[in-house]
């Protein structure tokens, strides 16, 4: 018996056995043990040849199969003088039970797999910002344990990040920094420094788009009267000041 396609990997001895039974189209309740055991062992040999990792469970099963095979070959001893009416137990019975049990869950797993395929196609929305509703003076960390923190972290990194990035429909490169972010940055710089030189807000490493965004933010803040811009005379350094009104 040659196996042409044997690169299939098996989850374990039951998986392999079950595969052989299916392939041979034999009755699971009446497994031809000698045949199946031979095939099983042949299979293991080929796995070895292919340097596939054979876990001990596969080998244990191989010896178990051989044991059953030999038991079935042995003539049944009738102990003389003793009339045991005990029903002879089929040496395969235990194995068959286990195989049938395994088959059940293998089938269930494949049904779940198709459900997984459908339901991985739904999207959820993130929770709305609810901090608005928190009272200012509420003790925020009450009852929060270190584990809650870790759970939160695990949750966030394992979450299906559907909002992560948008496929750029028009193939336009997304801004490295948005105007909103840039405005926030500028605001906090201005709050801290009160007054900066225009040139301080730019540097050589900036990409064109960032320079544009930064410039737009300055314009926006001027428009909002958050800052005022002063230039004493032509070609003089432009000074940006926070607007105290």
């Amino acid at each position: 018996m040659k196996y042409n396609v044997i690169l299939e990997t098996f989850e374990g001895p039951f998986d392999l056995l079950y595969h052989l039974i299916e392939k041979e189209e034999v009755d699971i309740y009446d497994i031809p043990i000698a045949k199946i055991a031979d095939q099983y062992i042949e299979y293991i040999e080929q796995m070895k040849d292919l340097d596939l990792d054979i876990t001990s469970e596969f080998l244990v099963m191989a010896s178990h199969l051989l044991e059953i095979k030999s038991k079935m070959l042995l003539p049944k001893k009738e102990p003389e003088g003793e009339q045991l009416e005990l029903e002879e137990v089929d040496p395969r019975q235990d194995l068959i039970n286990k195989l049938i049990e395994y088959k059940k869950y293998k089938e269930a797993a494949s049904k779940l797999k198709s459900k997984e395929k459908v339901h991985s196609k739904v999207f959820f929305k993130p929770q709305e910002e609810l901090d608005n509703f928190l009272e200012k003076d509420e003790p925020v960390l009450e009852g929060v344990k270190l584990w809650d923190l870790i759970d939160a972290f695990n949750k966030v990194i394992s979450k299906n990040k559907k909002n992560g990035k948008k496929v750029n429909i028009k193939e336009i490169k997304r801004d490295e920094i948005t105007i909103e972010e840039s405005i926030e940055n500028l605001k906090s710089i201005m709050k801290r420094k009160r007054k900066v030189k225009f040139s301080e807000l730019f540097n050589n490493n900036m990409s064109i788009s960032t320079i544009v965004v930064t410039f737009l933010s300055i314009l926006e803040l001027i428009k909002n009267k958050f800052i005022i811009v002063i230039q004493k005379k032509n070609f003089d350094e432009i000074i940006i000041k926070i607007n105290k009104t």
Binding site: F14, Y102, K103, E116
Partner: protein, 178 residues
């Protein structure tokens, strides 16, 4: 408050919360009997489906959450690239299905059914929050008992454990006792 208004509020609550929200929480917020709320949500689920709305209400045990519909996946994909959630390995699926049908169950029992070790598969599905520790078996070593989570139901789109695919009942008892 008329029914229409209650439905409207429930939709708003589910929208705001984003995560699964329990029947109890909804009932306590709108101060209406739990069974009544359940009845209303059930009819909302039907309405959403009947009207072919863009969103649906999914249910897992007594929790509800809004989501998009699987059939719109390709459209939404054009909007944003979903972080590819790797689907579960066969080993993980087998382990998971054994736990789902036999819970609560110990690792040793799972391994005896699968015929192989399942540490790795088990840790994967615990990490994904599909399975959790649900107790200890009161015998030597007090082994951990595992069971499925609500996240498990959600992951496979099951309303409850009763919704699990039927598996052959035939083999269960007859053969174990043979």
């Amino acid at each position: 408050m008329d029914k229409r208004e209650i439905k409207s509020i429930i939709e708003a609550l589910l929208f705001t919360w984003g995560d699964p929200l329990s029947l109890e929480d909804i009932a306590s917020i709108i101060e209406i009997d739990k069974n009544k709320v359940k009845e209303i949500i059930d009819s909302m689920i039907d309405e959403f489906n009947y009207q072919r709305r863009g969103i649906q209400i999914i249910q897992m045990n007594n929790k509800y959450q809004l989501s998009t519909r699987p059939e719109h996946y390709d459209w939404i994909k054009k909007l944003c690239s979903p972080k590819k959630n790797k689907s579960l390995s066969n080993a993980a699926l087998e382990t998971l299905s054994i736990i789902a049908y036999k819970q609560p169950i110990t690792k040793a029992e799972i391994e005896s059914i699968r015929g192989v070790k399942c540490d790795k598969a088990l840790s994967t599905i615990i990490e994904k929050n599909l399975v959790k520790e649900v107790g200890r078996l009161e015998k030597t070593g007090r082994p951990i008992l595992y069971g499925t989570t609500d996240e498990f139901l959600k992951y496979f789109g099951l309303k409850s454990l009763n919704d699990l695919p039927q598996i052959d009942k035939l083999s269960d008892h007859e053969n174990n006792t043979a």
